[in-house]
Symmetry: C2
Subunit: 191 residues, 2 copies
DNA sequence: ATATATTTAGAACGAATGTTCCAATTAGGT
DNA sequence: ACCTAATTGGAACATTCGTTCTAAATATAT
């Protein structure tokens, strides 16, 4: 039939994702993307569609990779509460290593008020994380590690929401001790 | 000497602020601002400087007005802990009335990674809020309303950070009950 | 009343925006 | 080896971007 692509679409998508992740949607130009991805303009539009679609795919890719890391951090841990702790630790570690704050949270503030399609995706992705924590909290309650009085899903929402606080503090102060202290407070308040 | 301005600079600044507040910095164009403020382009540059300076003044104006409202919500309240509760309540009420999420938090995610000047201002403004809560927490400890074990400033940082969680949830789900439940969790964890 | 400094309206600027198009290239199926 | 369909590089598109400029209008101080 015809030629094959010279580039690996998912590898290049990750480059786009990293740029959107760092600068957000509006501050990232197609020129920025072309330069960073090292892919021709035409090929970009052929492969990913327009900027908006590319952003959405970047977001999905981010969530997929991030949640996989979170789950991976918890596997093998028998104590559900410790599993939660491990995920939070991993999230913080990752965030400081990448020197970037969670793309879903950033996008929630930048895009949710302006773009309904993106907002729905962000809701769905956040729901997925809430479910992960909800399950763990339920199990922790069964294991009597935390009080069974509290509603598991509410606690999960609290945890996921609290992440935003961690990231804001990181974004402003970039002080890991401070962020870890906040995380400790959050985890303590679960019990 | 010469003519007077036909418009009230602070009144028009508030219009700019509302637009930046809603859409963020990058998604707001000068054309948007000219239309919304009903001020001539040239007059805008004469009065406020460029877009960047106008944004900074908008941010300062936002903080001034918001913090005044917060303090006002707490005045007359003898119990320091209840004062904290009142501020949180006011913050939530205001946020749902305006149908917009805190401009400082939004800007922290959009601008802090890209703009050091804005980041420093955001830090300073956040510090001011942390101090307000730090004072109240200190007083609440003296009044034995909350445990004196915890470091007051750390708890204040936790509160201020937790606001970001409230706003993310509002931005995504726009569910007031959910946000109020989260706020309750935050306040409970203070004790 | 006149001179003067400032504001006003809106045209105009070059640069950057997202997107499309086209000719040249290239690899796969027959 | 040759046709064919897709990819490639890069020019080109119309808009929009933030900003500046000019000329007319206007209010103040003398």
């Amino acid at each position: 039939m015809a030629r094959n692509k010279e580039f690996d679409p998912t590898e290049k998508l990750e480059k786009a994702r990293d740029l959107f992740w760092e600068k957000g949607y509006h501050a990232t130009s197609m020129q920025d993307l072309v330069s960073q991805m090292q892919v021709n303009r035409g090929s970009m539009y052929d492969t990913y569609g327009d900027k908006h679609q590319l952003f959405i795919e970047s977001l999905q890719n981010y969530a997929k990779e991030t949640y996989a890391e979170y789950k991976q951090a918890a596997t093998g841990e028998k104590s559900p509460f410790k599993a939660i702790e491990l995920i939070v630790k991993k999230a913080i570690q990752r965030s400081f290593e990448e020197e970037k704050v969670c793309m879903i949270v950033k996008s929630s503030f930048e895009m949710a008020p302006l773009d309904n399609d993106v907002k729905e995706i962000l809701k769905q992705l956040s729901n997925a994380l809430i479910s992960i924590f909800g399950d763990l909290i339920g199990k922790a309650q069964q294991a009597k590690e935390i009080s069974a009085e509290k509603n598991a899903r509410q606690s999960a929402q609290f945890i996921v929401g609290s992440f935003a606080g961690l990231w804001q503090m990181q974004a402003l102060y970039n002080d890991r001790t401070m962020v870890e202290q906040m995380a400790k407070n959050i985890l303590d308040s679960l019990k």
